[in-house]
Symmetry: C2
Subunit: 252 residues, 2 copies
């Protein structure tokens, strides 16, 4: 029932789908995510890569997904042990293991500084912002999902949507892993806020330029400064803010 202009009318709506998805690695239950139930192979692989449980493509034996049941099974050649740190990270479901200092966290995430050659002009950046908005605005505002897109000079590598900000980025990482595509030296654009966790996922992917329609948190900015990642936020219409490493944004 929609209330508008002082009266109720009955209006059909399409809701964003939300499903639990349980990922198993070599028979062990790893995590249950609440997600948009599409591209689940990518989500399973991208999540494991982001958590450091899967590293090189040759380690992967198979990925099986049952979308209806919400189960994924990943089999790898290398049994990476769930360290206390990894347990701790998974435990909270959202990023960091109890430390409060930046270096503790960066260490826990095993993030290395990003060394990308990528440079972007404001004109290109504004075009990409419009591209993501065009591609997702209607869907996002009416169905409540987040979008993320990976760009290389000259075009889009992959565009994904999910009810979870983190899942959309994991799907992109998983797509690239499964297709043997580089994520280093690419531009990653997200619709949602840049929290420390999104920043860490970008760092793991070797992303030098991270762009959002929304704003970064102070912790994300601190990490971005330290890890050499250019953070662009509040990117809407014909404007944006550069919070860290502006040297990669080169005027035309």
């Amino acid at each position: 029932m929609r209330w508008a202009e002082d009266k109720f009318t009955s209006v059909p709506v399409t809701l964003a789908g939300e499903r639990p998805f349980t990922i198993h690695l070599n028979g062990q239950e790893i995590v249950t995510l609440l997600c948009s139930p599409d591209h689940l192979e990518e989500l399973a692989v991208g999540f494991l890569v982001a958590e450091g449980l899967l590293d090189r493509p040759e380690e992967l034996i198979e990925v099986l997904v049952d979308t209806d049941k919400g189960w994924g099974w990943v089999k790898t050649r290398v049994e990476r042990l769930l360290t206390k740190e990894a347990m701790s990270r998974r435990y909270i479901g959202s990023g960091c293991g109890g430390g409060t200092g930046f270096y503790t966290l960066a260490d826990a995430w095993k993030c290395r500084p990003v060394e990308g050659k990528l440079r972007v002009s404001p004109t290109d950046l504004l075009a990409l912002i419009q591209d993501l908005q065009r591609g997702s605005e209607l869907y996002r505002t009416t169905r409540g999902v987040h979008s993320a897109a990976l760009y290389k000079p000259g075009g889009t590598v992959v565009f994904r949507e999910d009810i979870g900000r983190h899942n959309a980025v994991d799907k992109i990482a998983g797509y690239c892993f499964l297709h043997g595509l580089a994520t280093e030296d690419r531009l990653l654009m997200v619709s949602g806020r840049i929290s420390s966790e999104i920043l860490a996922k970008a760092a793991k992917m070797g992303i030098p330029v991270l762009v959002s329609r929304s704003v970064p948190t102070d912790l994300a900015v601190e990490y971005g400064l330290d890890l050499g990642i250019t953070i662009v936020g509040f990117a809407r219409g014909r404007r944006f803010n550069v919070y860290t490493h502006p040297e990669r944004i080169i005027s035309d």
Copy 2:
């Protein structure tokens, strides 16, 4: 650096604070949340209540928080064991334990149907929506935080903000728990999406009317129907949608 009107200018900005906060219950580390570092006593208590680890006010002995270090210690009289289900829920950091059917989840969450007498008129609802927008819009769009507010007939009970949607709701639950205030038969308004987890938190609080500026997911709507919760979404300006149990929205 802000890019606008085709040039860069240097502009001071205030960023939303993001800090890890580790909650201990009776000496045991329970979870680390990434949150806005304010009202942490409320967050600790609200989280434990939502997870079913703290039930009645008389169980609580003390809450100690070190905001700088990001630590919270809660001491209770009743040692609630972390069941396999609870572990599984905490494990994913975000709500449900691997089942795919609704009843499995509802059971895992131990949510009971809500029986509220609360009725709201569209006029009152529109006023509340404007109230939350006024109270938070500037802050939210410039600093990237979510807001949540609990209302009773005649006024606001409590308003909280956090970089995490879930944390803002947990702070409200914690505030009410610590001050001995009822959450039953109140209206809860949130700025972010209504996912199944937000719906479950509302159900645990006995909230009959849950309102969001954004939209609910299909799973949240399914739970709302079953648990007797009126879900109002897309509440902006002079309009809103009612997704479930419209009988509580009574025209003037």
